[in-house]
Symmetry: C2
Amino acid sequence: MINTFYKEMTGKESVIRQFFDYSRKRAAELGPDSVLNFSIGNPSVPAPDSATEAMQTLLREEDPVTLHGYSPTLGQPSTKAAIAESLNKRFGMNYKAEHIFPTSGAAGALSHALRAVTKAGDTVITFAPYFPEYIPYVTGTGAKLAVVPADTTSFQINFEKLEELFTENVAAVLINSPNNPSGIVYTTETITRLAELMQRKQEEYGHEIFLITDEPYREIVFEGTDSPFVSSFYDNSICCYSFSKSLSLPGERIGYLAVNPRAVDADKLVPMCGQISRFTGHNCPSSLMQRAIEPVLYETSDLSIYEVNAKLLYEALVKIGYSVVRPGGTFYMFPQSPIPDANEFCWTAAKELGLIIVPGDSFECPGHFRISYCVPTEQIQRAIPLFEELFNRYR
Amino acid sequence: MINTFYKEMTGKESVIRQFFDYSRKRAAELGPDSVLNFSIGNPSVPAPDSATEAMQTLLREEDPVTLHGYSPTLGQPSTKAAIAESLNKRFGMNYKAEHIFPTSGAAGALSHALRAVTKAGDTVITFAPYFPEYIPYVTGTGAKLAVVPADTTSFQINFEKLEELFTENVAAVLINSPNNPSGIVYTTETITRLAELMQRKQEEYGHEIFLITDEPYREIVFEGTDSPFVSSFYDNSICCYSFSKSLSLPGERIGYLAVNPRAVDADKLVPMCGQISRFTGHNCPSSLMQRAIEPVLYETSDLSIYEVNAKLLYEALVKIGYSVVRPGGTFYMFPQSPIPDANEFCWTAAKELGLIIVPGDSFECPGHFRISYCVPTEQIQRAIPLFEELFNRYR
């Protein structure tokens, strides 16, 4: 019999999707120049040539039966070892191959990590503003999501509110730094304080509380930004990574989770992920993609355009009069809406100026809007006068 | 807190895995020639050159931002349309692109299909012998698996037992034809009778009952075998397919599900799968792989070796005295063990002769053993005297 839970979801379009659809409709009606789309988080720079070459070399030189054969359930051993080594070299960790589980991007990593360290009825804490897909990732395990309200002055952690939300049902804390949608990177001070608080809560409640770190934007951090490797601050941690943004391969669904070697049951968590896959029908990411990322683990796409765009846009918005916390990384910025209703603000921007931005309500942070600036710099330049016109309407 | 359900599973190795591990240990100790491994279902023939060329052409000619960009949630439109067209041409169906959902192989297809048409507490019926991963696929949805015992004389359906197992809680029936492990293909007569019985049960219970067809071996059918396209016999059906065996791409995790256009809510089921993915963190298969299979939908690897091996092995086993139902396809055969305890029989084969075969107990069909003959023909020739020696021990 048709499952009514999923069936009822199909009618409901997300707000982000509504803006996206409007932008397509407008472009079709008024021409592509009538739209400046800042709603999408899709990398705008190509994968590095070295990544393409790695795929081509494998296709040319490797025996196809081996290359396209089943990956071992827990991932390609050589890929796992290479990822562990790269993390150890860069961040002074002690990962072994057995702590690495290749996944279908960060989505796969988060879903596995959450299932591994929660059970039905547990609570997972996250922080506004947050990626709305955290809701199905967390509720899909049977756990509940509790959200710490944003500190909108800095988008670092609101520790008083975090402390208030803690109960003994909390099995995990989920953070995303560098952050979508704020663009903010948690500082060493923030991470130290979070680790201390969680350590204290572990002792108070007498059970482990896992820190799950969602890090797809780890490689997109701007000059001068303090960007600590979170797992080195807290033992019971699982790092969830994706190559979607760093290598511009979002459609290839390749990422991993890395279990902190000092975590409780560190040797069990990856085999547990192998079991979890059996229940979700997920299995490993593409064998070709696992092998292809091995030689390019120390490389990225040319991410410099995101920093150029961030600087240009941030300075222009501040000059116009917008209140905006300077992003430390990603390709997102999260200014305050000049009127309390960011939804109304964004629809006005879309319908009157063709400026497609999305309201913060989708990220449980009303009164703000997200600009995705993974676009050609020329698009930023064209948009600045429109952001000014928009601001002046509400002056 | 660590999830104890998954943690407790990690210690337990499957029987198939134990045989696999033994074969590796034996090969390491006594040399590779000491082992003839018939335990693995991994294609032994390479992907067709046209598939490799399709990947290479895309990597060389397509804009990498587009090629590796996010796939739409419900799959690449051109891929979906091409799959629908190929099924319509070959099987006289009326699929549209919107009925096709690209998945991570048949595992992804089955997991989505099962979640779409069951809810917690429902029953899903399948038929022994069956692929043991059906247990996590079904229980992962919250449903229960009920198993119809095998008709070991033909490995077609035991309809009396099926009728006995039916209750109004049955939401779906899951079949696998051509079958792993028996190698048998359900005949037109079997499928017609199954469709009639399910239609009658739908009317009796007043709700739809879905037929989910697991078809990764669809293209491996031997000459003269009656091999009907199941979905054309029953409206409420979802066909789950994988390119793992037909194109020898198991590691690339590419397959699809096809919702029968005449099914209840046929237009809703693929959008529901898009919602289901959000909860399991699965998302789409690789963008490159979706695009790469488009031009090779009418092709396969050179599958002829499986038929050569089947004939050679079947005739030799029958001559020796084994009781075995002739396979109509796949690369499996499922003879009766000369002694009731197939487990003991298979361990004797492994330890005394280095012949690695797996007991039917794993497929809920004791007293039989599975031979995977996706191996070089020369390996079959070397194995025949060993199968004879083994048979004579128990004479």
